[in-house]
């Protein structure tokens, strides 16, 4: 991974690919690399869909190696949804394949001269870019089927659906899974729209003839990788809870805590939660011949995904994640798993962020466009997005735009991005991260709980209110590091509880690169990433006023605990004062 593939889509005579050495970006991967390139090369005032913006796709520092769980890939650009810097990451196969092909990143830059749609094929022999207008407005599933016919089944695809082509602000970039289905998505922030603005429909990767990336210290790497895997498998969450039930295991728990946003964040509990819980979902998948335990990329040992079949036993979609089940479920008052699974499929096929779609539909329901609980109505709305009708384009632009168009006061967004499945009035600490993350409301921005957490962000008494700010800071720092490795953030729980597993991760990086990093070094790395991102946002015009939750969080109590968000603005302003 010592080279970057730059594709100027606006070059004379059509897109031109150039491979350059990684140069000043050496030692960076995943989120660190996407944010470094965007921060350094994209003018902060540029239009997100214009010539000056760049779409950066980067595997993690450990991707393509034997390191377990290292198959995440980052997508970065200036976001058309938030107006700030964005990194959205995804599972799937392309991270491993792109890394094995030797690329630290693909950078799409410039602006295409016409309306042609391009496909890009990358293998060991190089890069081929061709016009393929037969792909126009195809869903991700159909695009991948066409690529399989053309290039065979030993490929991995990165694609956009119609939403990306229409440059909708809530459009995603899809990545194929181990079954070559476009089920994994860099969903947040409208990265699909940026790819669409570059005129690129699909990037096909084939690593035939390439081998696994080799560590500097092979023996040490092998030894610590074993410890790393053993630690993940020994932990109750990564070894039992997630494999058995997937992330949707959280539905019952968050609902019980009264922090499950229901009816567009009106209430904190959903009466139908048990019907759409991870427990019922896993049972349903197993009974219908699907899978309740399945990895989203090779090298995954947690296997929190699954396969969801319809009532007749036919594939419908991958196992919907907790956030998806919530967004299209409780947030919209829908308690039917089959309806939610269909919405998940449609989102994946059209290339949409499931969180922003669920939030947008919830806002539309609040506006009276359809009733809470109207599952078929929700399906019809997503289909409107796929058709590109004016109503569909509004919904596909996300909850913030939908709220403005329909005149809704309670719009759950920060920096224009919809809040995920945890109400910050009940779990206030996550509100600190929602408010202050450079990415907008994002539960994964402050997710990585490492065993050295209390030492990362300063001295913290977790039982004191001010601890929330320090903890959010530490979590955001740790997450920026994990996101840069290509590591799945679900490893975080074993990292928190098992110091030896946390050390194994650092040892893994050191053995691979021949470094001598300590926990403090990883924290400095994370800080560096956040500083770049904050700096970009400042240059783009963001001030502390954007680091706020919407007002209703402060003045509308959330049942059943009847709590409001209590963290003061002055405290929020301290998050990045390290």
């Amino acid at each position: 991974m010592d080279k970057i593939l730059r594709i100027d889509v606006g070059a004379e005579g059509g897109p031109k690919a150039t491979t350059v050495p990684i140069g000043v970006y050496a030692g960076l991967g995943g989120r660190a690399l996407t944010s470094a390139i965007v921060s350094k090369e994209v003018p902060a005032a540029s239009h997100p869909l214009g010539e000056e913006n760049k779409l950066v796709i980067a595997p993690g520092l450990l991707s393509g190696s034997m390191a377990a769980m290292s198959g995440r890939i980052s997508v970065g650009a200036k976001s058309p949804l938030t107006g700030g810097i964005k990194e959205a990451n995804s599972g799937g196969q392309p991270s491993q394949v792109l890394a094995r092909l030797g690329y630290a990143a693909i950078v799409l830059e410039g602006k295409p001269k016409g309306d042609d749609l391009y496909k890009i094929f990358i293998n060991k022999d190089g890069v081929k870019i061709s016009v393929d207008n037969t792909l126009k407005m195809l869903g991700n599933y159909d695009v991948v089927e066409k690529m399989k016919k053309e290039f065979g089944e030993k490929i991995a695809c990165i694609s956009i659906g119609p939403a990306g082509e229409m440059k909708l602000a809530a459009s995603s970039v899809a990545f194929t899974d181990m079954e070559l289905r476009p089920t994994r998505h860099a969903g947040r922030g409208g990265m699909g729209a940026v790819m669409g603005s570059k005129g690129v429909k699909v990037i096909v990767l084939d690593d035939t003839g390439m081998s696994m990336r080799q560590p500097k210290d092979a023996d040490k790497f092998k030894e610590v990788n074993k410890k790393w895997i053993a630690g993940l498998q020994a932990h109750g969450v990564t070894g039992q809870g997630l494999p058995a039930y997937g992330t949707n295991v959280l539905t019952n728990i968050i609902n019980e805590a009264g922090g499950y946003p229901t009816y567009n964040f009106k209430e904190g509990r959903f009466a139908g939660a048990a019907k759409i819980s991870g427990e019922v979902q896993a049972e349903t998948e197993t009974k219908r011949g699907g899978l309740a335990t399945h990895g989203c990329h090779s090298g995954c040992v947690i296997r929190c995904s699954g396969i969801y079949n319809d009532k007749d036993g036919h594939y419908l979609t991958k196992q919907p994640e907790y956030e998806t089940v919530w967004a299209h479920g409780g947030n919209c008052g829908i308690d039917d798993l089959d309806t939610i699974a269909m919405l998940d499929f449609l989102d994946d096929n059209y290339g949409l962020d499931t969180i922003d779609m669920g939030a947008a539909i919830g806002v539309a329901m609040e506006a009276g466009l359809l009733k809470f609980g109207d599952g078929q109505g929700a399906i019809n709305l997503i289909k409107e997005v796929g058709k590109g009708t004016p109503l569909g384009r509004i919904i596909g632009s996300g909850a913030a735009v939908t709220g403005k168009i329909f005149g809704v006061e309670r719009v759950p967004v920060v920096k224009g991005q919809a809040m995920p499945a945890y109400d910050p009035r009940a779990v206030q600490g996550i509100g600190v991260t929602y408010a202050t993350s450079p990415m907008g409301a994002d539960h994964t921005s402050g997710y990585a709980v490492t065993s050295n957490i209390l030492g990362v962000g300063g001295t913290v008494d977790p039982l004191k209110p001010e601890g929330q700010v320090a903890l959010s800071r530490a979590l955001q720092i740790a997450t920026a590091f994990i996101d840069s490795l290509g590591m799945c953030i679900f490893t975080a729980f074993a990292l928190m509880d098992q110091p030896e597993t946390n050390q194994a991760l650092i040892d893994l990086v050191n053995a691979f690169y021949g470094w001598n990093w300590t926990a403090d070094d990883t924290a400095e790395f994370g800080k560096k990433v956040l500083k770049m991102e904050r700096d970009f946002n400042t240059r783009a015009g963001f001030t502390k006023e954007q680091d706020r939750l919407p007002l209703f969080m402060k003045n509308q109590p959330l049942a059943p605990h009847n709590v409001t968000f209590q963290v003061k603005d002055e405290e929020l302003d301290q998050v990045f004062n390290w």
Binding site: H235, G236, V237, T238, Q240, G241, L242, A244, Y245, T247, V249, L250, N252, I253, I254, E256, A257, G258, G259, R269, A271, A274, S277, G278, E279, V280, E283, C304, Y322, Y422, R425, A426, V427, Q428, G429, I430, H443, G446, Y447, V449, I453, L454, D461, P462, L463, K464, P465, G467, Q468, L471, L475, F490, A492, F493, M496, P560, H561, V563, Q566
Partner: protein, 211 residues
């Protein structure tokens, strides 16, 4: 439908149902356990007392598996000081993923994140009396404790039981060795067959016997 008032059971008409089954069939009943069932116990007692002295749960199971506890919706950190009262709801879960999942855990280093909803320490001086509490079992604890509670006997509201039997298939009845209603064996093959028995009862006391 899941949340009901357990205190009503003391004065409500209750139908006694026993199912004689092979242990694996108990899995079909787990939906009742995650939705919420009621048990009779000594209230005014700590959760610790309930677990160890009343339910006789294995301490290793409590410490290693029951990682997340909610008392009437409030995350519990200390089972020695959190007290169950008549009508309380106690939800039990394993360790959960996600930042918020980790936050809700007992004695989580991230406890400050949810301090506004955490269960507060209560007095140990309550008088212990008989009462009813609702219990919810989630995720890995269904496997660990599901059969235990079913064999002990659980109360569920009629509406919940009716909803439950409506989704049972013929396979369940074929695999069920015997059904007893108020101690007498009955032949039931579908949800309709239950209705004459359920009429005029507000709650069902369901007990499972395994062979």
């Amino acid at each position: 439908m899941g949340d009901h008032n357990p205190q009503q059971i003391g004065s409500a008409p209750v139908l006694n149902i026993s199912l004689v089954i092979d242990a694996p069939l108990a899995k079909e009943l787990y939906v009742l356990l995650q939705t919420g069932f009621t048990v009779k116990c000594l209230v005014g007692a700590s959760i610790e007392n309930l677990f160890y002295d009343q339910l006789k749960l294995n301490p290793q199971l409590v410490e290693e598996k029951i990682s997340t506890i909610f008392l009437s919706g409030k995350p519990v950190d200390d089972i020695a000081t959190a007290t169950v009262q008549d009508g309380s709801t106690l939800a039990l879960s394993g360790a959960m993923p996600g930042l918020v999942g980790a936050t809700l855990r007992r004695k989580s280093p991230l406890a400050s994140f949810r301090q506004s909803i955490s269960a507060q320490q209560t007095s140990k001086n309550f008088k212990k009396t008989e009462g009813y509490i609702q219990i919810k079992l989630f995720n890995i604890l269904l496997k660990e404790l599901g059969l235990f509670f079913l064999e002990m006997g659980i109360y569920v509201p009629r509406a919940m039981f009716t909803s439950f039997i409506a989704q049972l298939t013929g396979d369940f009845y074929n695999r069920c060795r015997q059904i007893l209603v108020n101690g007498k064996p009955v032949q039931l093959q579908s949800s309709i067959d239950w209705f004459p028995f359920l009429t005029n009862h507000d709650f069902v006391y369901l007990k499972v016997q395994t062979e």
